[in-house]
Symmetry: C2
Subunit: 348 residues, 2 copies
């Protein structure tokens, strides 16, 4: 059984249900293209996937934002498509176009996925985590993560990002049993992957369900909530004290059911989630995380400062983690991030 | 003051707050590419915009689905970009790519929009409505519509459909006053346009806010709810008895505030809205419309039939209009639509 060190980590305190003042802050995609030092390392690595698979460079970019900003966590530099990659699906990241995969759309495609080979392919991510942990100050955990099975499946089936995830949804409507076998494979692989990350030093986990919003109610329950619950249960069986944040982007009014049914410790909220709903419906049940508009961080200035104040005033009196509602945009000026962190930390 | 005829229309009854059994049904984009007879007329018209501006052909495609299916309303064949077109913005529809507009991103761009010329440019839509009304059986109203100012503004500013409406949102963050003047112009033009449609025979109106889901709380209130409330108030001042359906796609948990604050008579719900939220939170206040997944209509068969039954059982006992959660997809087999209408009408 894996147990994290007892600690005074501000993030872990908040995720354990304590009100931390000022609240902890980290930012989705805090290691990324908005930082010139990231772009330098990225150029060295050759490709995005090459960077994910190079532990020394990946550890370096993981740590970069913590050298600039007073953040309360690192998040391992990796990608949610590491799981299809580990299962043997051909994955590449085309500059300016996003990920391209050889689509899996049939029983034969499914049969070619190779669960046995996955652990060896995850090894570089584990190594990145081990390197990061040695460099982090105490009290600052590193977050491990994976994509939720539904979201990962949409990329595997579409072969790319897509507007409405139609191919994956159609497969699920037309042949729910075979789609279920893909989801089951992803659940099993993700549990092993998250536990591997915990063993390598991750003390908090996040499950990214970026395309949760494209599913109607029954499908949301079947393809988002249920597999997420299975992952949470699988991880908790081995690592009961590692808090897990679920991030069902676009879930809207379905976020309540998700929070209730998955067993997650905290819920990440996207930008469109009303603060009143976060406070009254979600935070009444579990710690919430979010949800500044990344575009407002890019714009900066008075409108950003006003919103940060509103978010802190609305959510700061109960268990809360400050974050964006989605990842940092590449054109964001790093000084806006510095200002945001100052504001949240009350050093304004 | 414009008053519709008193009538026993099933749609108008439901929108007036009565429980109609079986519930009325119409389908977003019911006149469209999934129908071979539509594709024939479309080919004759040359371009999509040419079809919208040709009253005889537009009336013909408006009526086509009612010849095949026992639907409770027609919806005038037109497009939400008729408003920017009428304001003098260059609008074209590129085959396979969607709309292209000359983007408006500055005070100069705004100043070039010509409100005075708009009514003359709306005339073909009014003529389409007049032609449609003469052909419709009594008890079947024709629905007029416009895009909500926020959604229309996103196309005007982006120059096309976009993933996250970043240009429009950035403008609104950086210079709210000038963005407000664009929204105000759209409110004023939309009120005149909807009243023109009522004068030409529309007896129900729908306001499509397709991109409502991209806005955080404060912006949702300012750019979605408030302008919609102004449009509703402007229309109701002249045509108090014409029911108005609001369709804030992607509003998620914000739909409740929208329903409360805009003055709409009924709310259209997209596919991701849980039926329990529709029933308990929305239908408790006003009639609801929706929300079968268009992809499930495309897929057809037992999964579709099961969902239709669930929707009817959950929402049919109170004021309700059956619809999809978004427009019919072009690859939908027309026989699936026929089956859906039979199911809803209880002729299964």
């Amino acid at each position: 059984m894996l147990r994290p060190h007892l600690s005074q980590d501000r993030l872990i305190s908040a995720l354990s249900g304590r009100t931390v003042d000022p609240p902890p802050i980290w930012l989705m995609r805090q290691a990324g293209r908005y930082l010139p030092e990231y772009r330098e390392v990225r150029a060295k690595a050759g490709s995005f996937l090459g960077l994910c698979l190079n532990p020394e460079l990946a550890a370096e970019v993981t740590l970069q934002p913590l050298r600039r900003f007073d953040l309360d966590a690192a998040i391992v530099f990796s990608d949610i498509l590491m799981v299809p990659y580990a299962l043997g699906q051909k994955v590449e990241f085309v500059e300016g176009e996003g990920p391209k995969l050889e689509p899996v759309r049939s029983a034969e495609g499914l049969a070619r996925l190779d669960r046995a080979a996955a652990e060896a392919r995850f090894a570089p991510v584990y190594e990145t985590l081990r390197l990061v942990v040695t460099e982090l100050p105490s009290g600052v955990p590193v977050i491990g993560f994976c994509g939720a099975p539904w979201t990962v499946a949409t990329y595997m089936v579409e072969g790319a990002g897509s507007k409405d995830q139609a191919q994956a949804r159609l497969w699920a409507y037309r042949d729910a049993a075979s789609f279920q076998s893909l989801i089951d494979l992803l659940v099993e692989t993700s549990v092993a992957y998250l536990l591997g990350q915990v063993k390598a030093g991750a003390r908090v986990l996040q499950i990214f369900d970026s395309w949760a919003g494209s599913l109607p109610e029954n499908e949301f329950a079947r393809w988002c909530s249920t597999p997420t619950r299975s992952i949470v249960a699988g991880v908790k069986a081995e690592a009961p004290d590692v808090p897990i944040i679920g991030f069902p982007r676009g879930a809207g009014a379905q976020a309540e059911t998700y929070a209730r049914e998955t067993g997650i410790d905290a819920i990440g909220c996207d930008t469109s989630m009303p603060l009143s709903f976060m406070r009254e419906t979600l935070q009444a049940r579990l710690p919430v995380q979010g949800n500044l508009d990344p575009l407002l961080l890019l714009a900066g200035g008075e409108p950003m400062e006003a919103r940060v104040t509103t978010i802190l005033n609305t959510l700061g009196g109960a268990p809360f983690v400050f974050n964006l509602g989605h990842g940092i945009l590449p054109d964001t000026p790093p000084e806006h991030v510095a200002r945001l962190v100052e504001l949240v930390k009350g050093k304004a």
